[in-house]
């Protein structure tokens, strides 16, 4: 993907594709012509229904962490941002930053136990017992918490994720 967002040109193929998708979701709201850099935002409901996101258990969180207002509505810029971070070419560090945001449900900049529980419930469709959930969350904190504050800061998260063998291949959406 090309980061050369010259409004009106939309020259890279990736961006054109993204614009197509963005336009497609709400043809009457999103203009075809982006020369004037219009201030258009699409609500979360539209975006999480994209087939790329539809099955993702974290779709709401993904959209929220990329939206500028934190409410989940995305401007085209945010939209491009989202798919560039989730693209194949984005580096691990960048992905890690946004992954952290996504898993940080209550946006307190720490992944605490509540966040972990939410993540786990979304991942397993709440099929684990409460006991198992506590066990897993405890284990995660025990493994990854480097500074001993009982929750995962970004440093902890980054350290953990940088060693994960398949983070790059799974945190990735092809569009």
């Amino acid at each position: 993907m090309q980061l050369k967002m010259r409004r009106g040109e939309l020259d890279s193929a990736f961006e054109r594709k993204l614009h197509g998708r963005y336009h497609e979701m709400a043809p009457n709201v999103v203009p075809m012509d982006y020369t004037k850099d219009p201030d258009v935002k699409l609500p979360m409901q539209l975006i999480i229904n994209m087939p790329e996101l539809k099955e993702n258990p974290f779709k709401e969180r993904i959209v929220e962490s990329f939206s500028e207002d934190g409410e989940g509505s995305l401007s085209f810029n945010d939209f491009v941002d989202m798919f560039s971070v989730l693209s194949e070419m984005a580096p691990r560090e960048l992905k890690a930053i946004y992954a952290f945001k996504i898993y940080d449900f209550n946006t307190d900049n720490f992944i605490c136990k509540a966040d972990l529980e939410k993540t786990l419930n979304k991942l397993t469709r709440e099929e684990l017992t409460a006991e198992e959930i506590t066990l897993v969350c405890e284990k995660v904190i025990e493994e990854a918490d480097m500074d001993g504050d009982g929750k995962l800061g970004f440093a902890d998260f980054e350290n953990m994720i940088s060693k994960a063998p398949d983070f790059l291949s799974t945190f990735h959406i092809r569009i």
């Binding site: 974290f58 941002d81 786990l120 991942l123 198992e132 953990m160």
Partner: protein, 955 residues
């Protein structure tokens, strides 16, 4: 803070410049894209961990660029004149404020001061720091570029105004600097995507950088070979796509991969391991089938004498009536018996057809080769699995990785998503079981006692059933000697009945016993497998005993037949032309010729029947035990007085041990019987093929996952070991019969020989030059063979010893790593605590708005910074030199950055830094700052850690 205004002004400048250089802008974009693509190409490689490849790649790139710039330099001289004017313009633009340049220099000096300050201050400046850290790179670069640019502009303008016509000599130094700037900007463009900024900011920074590059790259005359470059990039992209497709294709080519994955996601890896084992068996049998089919059955069918030409190739008169009965299909008598499917059909003609195909030799070699190949493949697989197991995986972040990286964001298909959810749940459950097992605190004495007791019970059961089998076999032999006609149905089928009863009840008994032991389910499965295996050995034993008895009987019968044969022949001749050897042989229909019992075919038939009936039993068990039960439970649950689904019958679980053992013993039958029935591998391939589908279906539709889904061991070596044992056991009787029982006189490829292996010496005699036979004779001399065997034993011993020592060293290293990681963790915790205490120190000035947490975080960030400064060289190897340098030459925060920096808004400045244990981090693919460079690339030659650094040298 004057520095803040700088970017704005420079942007303005650039903006005005650019308009008249639109075309070169396009060029630059192209270049930017090129750089982008370059990164793209580097990325996937890093992901695969081909660090070396990447390094080489980076090196190449460097070389290319260097060439480019050199060329550029030359070209620049040429272009000088044409560009002069444009340069002049720019110059005049910047001449408007000559103070700026000076200011810039001053800035640079102050920057150094700032940096030192900052080192002392660490990250205590609180909230603003994060913005700084993110922005500083770009800002710093921008500023420095500006400074340089200004200088250059000034110079240019000066020279331009001084003498338009004169060739302005640009010094090498400047050129290098300019190049450096351009490269830096390009790098910024390339790595811009890595920055966690919002798009708007990225755009503005990008625009600025691009304009700069446009302007000066044009001046440098770079961009030659652009087309080639674009082509290269395109090809890279295509190649990547092709590779991806090829990977997909490869996965699609693995048979039943999707089925197995689906089962694995619902039933766990232990059940999947059975199916993987089944698939592996299928592969082996395919090869065995290929061997026997291609080298034995097809040549005989095509080139051998046709059916009916010889007595051995004809159905005897007595059986003709029933030869086409339907029963032929399952008991393999009649026409099936007298066909290429069985040993007896083959002729002992030394060569057949126009190819002079050595049929008996081929038959013998295929029989031996089948077993040899099986040994080889089983042992090789075991060795490979052992390797994998020895490597082990890093379990330090087991749960965290499961939590944060197990969802595949690529999934867009609801069905796949369902499977993924199931598989994640299963894998969590597996991990939880492991964890619970490791946590379990138990009364060691009680457990030990129970385990001993359980083993004792199991041994008793085994011994009892062994004796029972022995007793029954003895009795049945006695019955057989006395003639079975005198006994009833029970006596005749006693052995079979006892065997099936044992096979039915003992596994259940073992199951009950193993619940005493309280083992981890994986270990329990092994015990269960081992015990049932021992039980089934009795099965095998009875079968072989029975077979041997039968062979002996047939051999006796053969002697009588041979005797009768001479009488019959004599009578034949006597009846017509006595005592006349020259008379033409009498034509007798081959069906009428009396013949021996041909024990080989009998053995082959026996095995084939056994295989077929075994298959049938398995399928019927699946249909009744699983499917009908599931149907019953499912539909009668509506009108039943208790809950069928969770109560008594419930759904069945997949019986791993039984299925695995069934598979293994079946394979043993194949190995034993395939010498006498070349069709056996074909039948087995068919069986495995169908059972794969049937069992996959049955598992998915009628079984429920085990109560405690456990993780299978990474290698199937336990299965393999049992298979090897069975292979060994089944080789013994086969080899025994080949070596020490004379082949039948009137059937099979070895008829007329006293032993089957004589075919080898016969071939040596006839088909090889005489010297070869001599050499072979010498080579088979015990004087040579014994030393050779000794040598082999010695080398095996040596290799074994070395491998053991390697393993130990490996373990040691692993332990060391682990303890180091723990140590690091501990130290970090201490550090965090210490910094917490420091924070409470009243002398420390703390930004009032930063919360407790934020402050602490910053503290740790500061620590990280300091550490990095101390170990600048180390930082280089960790692959984040740019980061390090950026953080070291950082300036006090400026308010403009706060507006631009979007992430993270609260005081988490340290977050972008690598974790404090950067030293232990593997120098793997973590370098993001400059993806083209290998992690160990010395990019800061001669820069002292902690010293103020100039712009990083990238060449």
């Amino acid at each position: 803070m004057p520095k803040n205004e700088k970017p704005a002004t420079s942007e303005g400048n650039d903006g005005s410049d650019v308009n008249n250089e639109e075309d070169s802008a396009a060029e630059n974009q192209e270049n930017g894209r090129g750089a982008d693509k370059e990164r793209k190409r580097a990325k996937p490689r890093t992901r695969r961990g081909h660090a070396r490849g990447r390094a080489r790649h980076g090196g190449e790139e460097d070389g290319d660029d260097e060439d480019g710039t050199r060329r550029a330099g030359q070209r620049r001289q040429r272009n000088r004149r044409g560009r002069g004017r444009a340069g002049g313009n720019e110059g005049s633009d910047s001449e408007g404020d000559p103070t700026k340049a000076r200011k810039n220099q001053a800035n640079q000096k102050s920057k150094e001061d700032d940096e030192q300050e900052e080192d002392e201050k660490g990250g205590k400046s609180g909230k603003g720091k994060n913005e700084k850290k993110q922005d500083k790179k770009a800002d710093k670069k921008g500023k420095k570029e500006k400074a340089n640019k200004k200088k250059k502009d000034k110079k240019k303008s000066g020279s331009g105004s001084d003498s338009d016509s004169e060739e302005e000599p640009i010094t090498e130094e400047e050129l290098a600097k300019l190049k450096e700037e351009v490269e830096e900007k390009k790098k910024l463009i390339a790595t811009l995507r890595n920055k966690p900024w919002k798009m708007k900011k990225k755009l503005s920074v990008l625009k600025e950088a691009q304009l700069f590059v446009e302007k000066f790259e044009g001046a440098l005359g770079k961009g030659k070979g652009k087309k080639f470059y674009a082509y290269k990039v395109m090809m890279t992209k295509k190649w990547m796509k092709f590779q991806r497709d090829f990977e997909n294709f490869k996965t699609a080519c693995i048979p039943w991969e999707m089925k197995i994955k689906e089962i694995e996601s619902h039933f766990g890896s232990s059940v999947a391991s059975y199916f993987i084992f089944l698939r592996w068996m299928y592969g082996i049998n395919m090869i065995l089938f290929g061997l026997t089919f291609g080298l034995v059955m097809v040549p005989e069918a095509l080139m051998g004498k046709p059916y009916g030409s010889l007595p051995r190739k004809t159905v005897p008169r007595a059986e003709e009536a029933t030869a086409m009965n339907f029963a032929t299909l399952w008991d393999f008598s009649g026409f099936a018996q007298y066909s290429v499917l069985f040993y007896g059909y083959y002729n002992n003609q030394r060569t057949i057809g126009w190819l002079k195909f050595r049929m008996p030799l081929s038959y013998f070699l295929v029989g031996v080769g089948t077993i040899g190949y099986s040994f080889m493949i089983v042992i090789r697989t075991m060795a490979r699995n052992a390797n994998e197991e020895g490597g082990g995986d890093d379990t330090s972040f087991n749960f965290s990785w499961k939590m944060f990286t197990s969802w595949d964001y690529l999934i867009g298909n609801p069905e796949t998503a369902d499977n993924k959810f199931a598989s994640i749940t299963t894998s969590f459950k597996e991990a939880i079981v492991e964890e619970q097992e490791s946590r379990k605190e138990e009364n060691i004495h009680l457990t030990r006692f129970l385990r001993v007791l359980a083993n004792f019970l199991a041994l008793c059961t085994l011994a009892g059933s062994g004796y029972l089998i022995f007793f029954v076999v003895r009795r049945s032999q006695k019955f057989a000697l006395e003639g079975l006609e005198n006994y009833g149905w029970w006596e005749r089928n006693e052995v079979n009945m006892v065997m099936s009863l044992l096979g039915m009840f003992c596994p259940t008994l073992f199951d009950v016993i193993s619940s005493l032991e309280n083992y981890h389910p994986r270990i329990a499965l092994r015990w269960q497998l081992g015990r049932i295996f021992a039980l089934f050995l009795g099965n095998l034993y009875t079968f072989i005993i029975a077979l041997m008895d039968e062979i002996n009987l047939k051999l006796e019968e053969e002697k009588i037949v041979k005797y009768n044969m001479t009488i019959w022949e004599a009578s034949l001749y006597n009846g017509t032309i006595p005592e006349n050897s020259t008379a033409p042989p009498i034509q007798v229909d081959p069906a009428d010729v009396p013949r021996g019992p041909c024990w080989e075919t009998m053995v082959g038939q026996e095995f084939v029947r056994l295989t077929v009936s075994d298959t049938m039993t398995t399928y019927i068990t699946i249909l009744i035990g699983d499917f009908l039960r599931a149907v019953f439970v499912r539909f009668f649950n509506y009108c039943w007085c208790w809950d069928l689904e969770y109560g008594f019958p419930s759904y069945s679980e997949f019986d791993i041990s039984g299925n695995v053992l069934g598979l293994i013993f079946n394979q043993g039958m194949i190995w034993m019987g395939s010498f006498y029935a070349p069709c056996l591998p074909a039948i087995n391939v068919f069986r495995l093929h169908t059972s794969m589908y049937l069992q996959c279906w049955a598992v998915m539709c009628c079984n429920v996952p085990q109560e405690r889904v456990f993780k299978a061991s990474r290698s199937n070596n336990f299965y393999m070991a049992m298979l090897l044992f069975i292979l060994f056991l089944s080789t013994l009787p086969a080899v025994y019969t080949i070596v020490s029982i004379p082949p039948s006189f009137d059937c099979g490829p070895f008829s007329g020989k006293t032993r089957m292996f004589e075919v080898i010496s016969e071939t040596l005699e006839h088909d090889f030059p005489s010297w070869f036979g001599k050499v072979f004779g010498y080579a088979s001399n015990p004087g040579l063979i014994l030393p050779f065997i000794l040598l082999m034993v010695l080398s095996i011993y040596y290799l074994n010893a070395t491998s053991k020592s390697y393993k130990e060293a490996n373990l040691e290293l692993k332990k060391k790593l682990q303890s180091q990681a723990e140590e690091n963790k501990r130290r970090n915790k201490q550090k965090a605590q210490k910094s917490n205490e420091q924070e409470e120190n009243p002398f420390e000035t703390e930004p009032p708005q930063s919360k407790q947490k934020g402050g602490k975080q910053d503290e740790s960030a500061a620590n990280q910074d300091n550490k990095k400064e101390q170990s600048g060289n180390e930082a280089k190897t960790t692959g984040q030199p740019q980061e390090a340098s950026a953080s070291s030459s950082q300036k006090p925060q400026h308010p403009g950055a706060a507006l631009n920096g979007h992430y993270p808004p609260q005081g988490r400045g340290g977050n972008l830094l690598p974790p404090p244990i950067a030293v232990t981090r593997p120098p793997g693919p973590s370098g993001y700052a400059a993806p083209g460079y290998p992690p160990g690339h010395p990019r800061f030659p001669g820069v002292q850690p902690g010293m103020p650094r100039g712009p990083p040298h990238y060449r």
